[in-house]
């Protein structure tokens, strides 16, 4: 078993390295292509303040702007959103003991969509949040939804997971209906709403990264601290309690953490489906159900996956941008089906 920890560490380091490599490679792809070396040098100059060669001779300042101010924040955002959705998926699948659980199962997406729709179509909150009205409204919509769902399902001091699931689905359906209703009656700029609902990272910059990073970190830390306890929860809530877990407290903490991460992600990227459902399953097939490895590799895997998918979305039909949610499903679903067939019966639910 000691070897196992070594193996886990190696997998983790390999994935971190791979993520970094993928980001660098994806930075070079696009309408203004550049060499990997140049991208490295730009990153070194901008981030570490190191200057090699004479930059002016190797690339134009426009290219530097494209790489650092346009592509890099977008890729980092993709990595953050991918990691957030995948780890939220892992946590919710474990917490609800339900293979169909994804980050949106408790109605977060519908709440965020309602907030976003209100912002886009009715301009609600624009005087308050300025340029960030859309993400702010989506974030508020998501948080309010989970607050409602949580309180509906609470019985005394306890929150039965079955109640939570059903309340989430009911509230989600209600909010989705409201979104449609608002769209029908406004009759205005439906294109923007539909595009947001399909999810995408076009035109996002450092501002968005800075906006969601705190929520991302605040959410990720408690989830990582609870990795062992998540394993125990898979034995059932009573069994977990008998093994020393304060189950109700843990559920509240995990739900809060997941809500923050997913709400922040949805607010900047719209509803990107599939990542949070399939990435955890793929890595559960590859590494087994132990959350101590499943959680970090799923987070990294989600990040890598979304960085790749976003690059495809951005470049495959340029200058047209394909919603990234479409790409994630087109690539991810067949790959998952392949894994499912190959490792029959070990999916773990």
């Amino acid at each position: 078993m000691l070897n196992q920890f070594l193996k886990w560490r190696l997998i983790f380091i390999a994935l971190v390295f791979f993520l970094f490599l993928i980001i660098v490679v994806c930075l070079t792809i696009g309408p203004a292509p550049g060499s990997i070396l140049n991208v490295f040098l730009i990153l070194a100059k901008k981030i570490l303040g190191l200057t090699f060669f004479k930059p002016e001779e190797r690339w134009s300042s426009t290219f530097e702007t494209i790489i650092f101010a346009v592509r890099l924040p977008r890729l980092i955002l993709a990595a953050l959103v991918g990691a957030a959705l995948a780890s939220a998926g892992v946590v919710l699948q474990g917490l609800l003991k339900n293979p169909l659980a994804d980050p949106y199962i408790l109605g977060i997406s519908s709440g965020a969509a309602l907030g976003a729709t209100l912002a886009i179509l009715l301009g609600v909150g624009s005087s308050l949040f300025g340029a960030y009205t859309l993400p702010a409204m989506a974030f508020i919509g998501a948080i309010v939804t989970i607050f409602i769902v949580y309180n509906i399902s609470r019985v005394g001091q306890q929150v039965p997971m079955g109640n939570l699931l059903l309340a989430g689905i009911a509230v989600g359906a209600f909010f989705s209906a409201l979104v449609t209703l608002v769209m029908v009656f406004s009759g205005a700029d439906l294109h923007a709403v539909i595009f947001w609902l399909m999810g995408g990272l076009a035109n996002r910059g450092w501002g968005h990264v800075k906006a969601i990073l705190p929520y991302f970190l605040v959410g990720l830390i408690p989830i990582f601290l609870a990795r062992r306890k998540l394993n125990l929860l898979l034995l059932g809530e009573e069994a977990a309690q008998h093994l020393g877990v304060e189950v109700e407290t843990l559920k509240v903490i995990l739900l809060g953490a997941v809500t923050l991460m997913v709400a922040a992600s949805v607010s900047v990227s719209g509803i990107i489906g599939f990542v949070g459902l399939i990435i955890p399953h793929i890595f559960r097939l590859l590494t087994g159900p132990d959350h101590r490895i499943l959680l970090p590799v799923s987070a990294l895997g989600g990040a890598i996956f979304l960085v790749l998918m976003d690059t495809i979305a951005r470049t495959a039909a340029a200058p047209l941008e394909i919603p990234v949610g479409v790409i994630t499903a087109l690539w991810g679903a067949p790959f998952f089906i392949y894994l499912l067939r190959k490792k029959k019966g070990t999916v773990g639910f």
């Binding site: 059932g236 009573e238 093994l243």
Partner: protein, 437 residues
């Protein structure tokens, strides 16, 4: 360390307004092996859930090592008390060794990896529970008995002082039931582990526990050693069932036999009015006595010497018997009492017994039964095999042939199949109402 590890004080639990447990009080000594028994709905599982803090009682509390468990953190409890549920559903393919290692969680911080000591404890727990050969198998591939052993191993890695189990054997086959019970007994005796378990099976509980708590309608009906708790009166009152309670010949613990179909039906009530007198001895009557009692007949027996196996059987079955002093021939006094009993009976049955000078009077009593017009049945292994059981120089045999001539019938035990085919035999015995025979 105090002698009392667990103190249950005035625990009352309600579901809505129904009291499931009412003012339950008891103490568990360190090192004891206690079984909680009682019929369905008597509050066994609720009591165990209360003790394991899975359920908070409406009133009362539970003291674990003199600390109120409702004020203790789950982690602190998990370091002193481990719980094995009735059945654990693990749908994720964790390896057995990983599941066992989870028992170390109460001792490990969030970033702390398992150390050498943790592996050692796991290894020992798996050795004790004989789960080492399963270590690298996914827990999803295990059978019920194997999984239960793995869960017990997990519980042991918690290094608990007390182990709670909720019907740990109820989903298992008899061989696995014994395996688990012997494991628990070993842990109790060798590791000095205190065990408190709910049992469904009264016999398992009686064989292995040194203390039993019998629950009835949410209250403690009886508490004490198995032989004090498992008495006929208690079982009849609490389970509404007639049982036969004997001393197990090997362990000396009480052993319960269910008497099939012992609930009183109209037909049985009618049979109760049928009185059969059995002449037996030396163990030849044991089966037939049980059989008749099970069927609901009123049964008497005689004359039997003190120390006779059939006499013991008759006593455990509450059958009235005419007794004679050990090794003495049937006295005139006993013979008269026997005749009185036969007079009251509706039929007389003679088991397949040997006759000597000592019990020759018994066959004379059968003659009296025929005089009185009672139907008489001789049980035989072979046709007219009484000769081979006659040690009176032909006197018994002669008497027997006279009786057959006068209308006594024989029942061939071989024709009834090996042993006693219950229904066939009864049909044979009572083709119609006995009075017509």
């Amino acid at each position: 360390m105090s002698v009392v590890i667990l103190k249950i004080c005035d625990v009352t639990c309600k579901y809505d307004t129904v009291k499931v447990l009412a003012e339950v009080n008891f103490k568990i000594r360190r090192g004891s092996f206690t079984g909680i028994i009682g019929p369905n709905g008597s509050g066994k599982s609720t009591l165990l859930k209360t003790i394991s803090k899975a359920l908070k009682p409406n009133r009362g509390t539970v003291w674990l090592n003199e600390q109120d468990i409702y004020r203790l953190k789950a982690q602190a409890i998990a370091q002193q008390m481990a719980v094995v549920p009735q059945e654990t559903v693990i749908s994720f393919p964790f390896l057995v060794k990983e599941v066992v290692m989870m028992g170390r969680s109460p001792y490990l911080g969030p970033w702390q990896a398992e150390g050498k000591r943790d592996y050692l404890i796991c290894h020992q727990a798996m050795q004790l529970t004989n789960t080492l050969p399963l270590a690298n198998r996914p827990v999803t591939t295990l059978s019920g008995g194997e999984k239960q052993r793995v869960i017990i191993a997990q519980a042991l890695t918690q290094e608990p002082e007390i182990l709670l189990l909720d019907e740990p054997t109820s989903h298992l086959d008899i061989n696995h039931q014994l395996e688990i019970m012997e494991l628990l007994q070993r842990l109790n005796q060798e590791q000095k582990l205190t065990i408190l378990a709910v049992f469904h099976d009264l016999n398992l509980a009686a064989q292995y526990c040194d203390q039993l708590i019998l629950l009835h309608q949410g209250k403690i009906y009886a508490l004490g050693k198995p032989e004090e708790v498992l008495i006929k009166k208690n079982i009849q009152e609490v389970y509404q069932t007639n049982v036969l309670i004997e001393k197990h010949s090997l362990t000396g613990r009480p052993y319960l036999t269910l008497l099939p179909g012992n609930t009183l039906t109209a037909q049985k009530a009618e049979l109760r009015n049928k009185h059969i007198h059995v002449i037996c001895g030396g163990g030849a009557g044991t089966n037939i006595l049980r059989l008749l009692v099970n069927q609901g007949y009123t049964v008497t027996a005689g004359v039997l010497n003190k120390g006779d196996v059939d006499l013991e059987t008759a006593k455990t079955l509450d059958i009235p018997v005419i007794e004679e002093v050990s090794f003495m021939p049937v006295s005139q006094a006993s013979h008269c009492l026997n005749l009185e009993m036969i007079q009251k009976a509706d039929a007389c049955l003679v088991a397949c017994i040997p006759f000597g000078h000592g019990n020759l009077k018994n066959i004379e009593a059968v003659a009296f039964a025929l005089d009185e017009g009672k139907p008489v049945f001789f049980m035989e292994e072979n046709k007219n095999d009484l000769a081979s059981r006659d040690y009176t120089g032909g006197k018994a045999e002669k008497l027997y042939h006279e009786l057959i001539k006068r209308g006594a019938r024989t029942i061939n035990m071989v024709n009834m199949g090996s042993g006693f085919e219950l229904s066939n035999f009864i049909r044979y015995l009572t083709p119609g109402p006995l009075s017509e025979a």
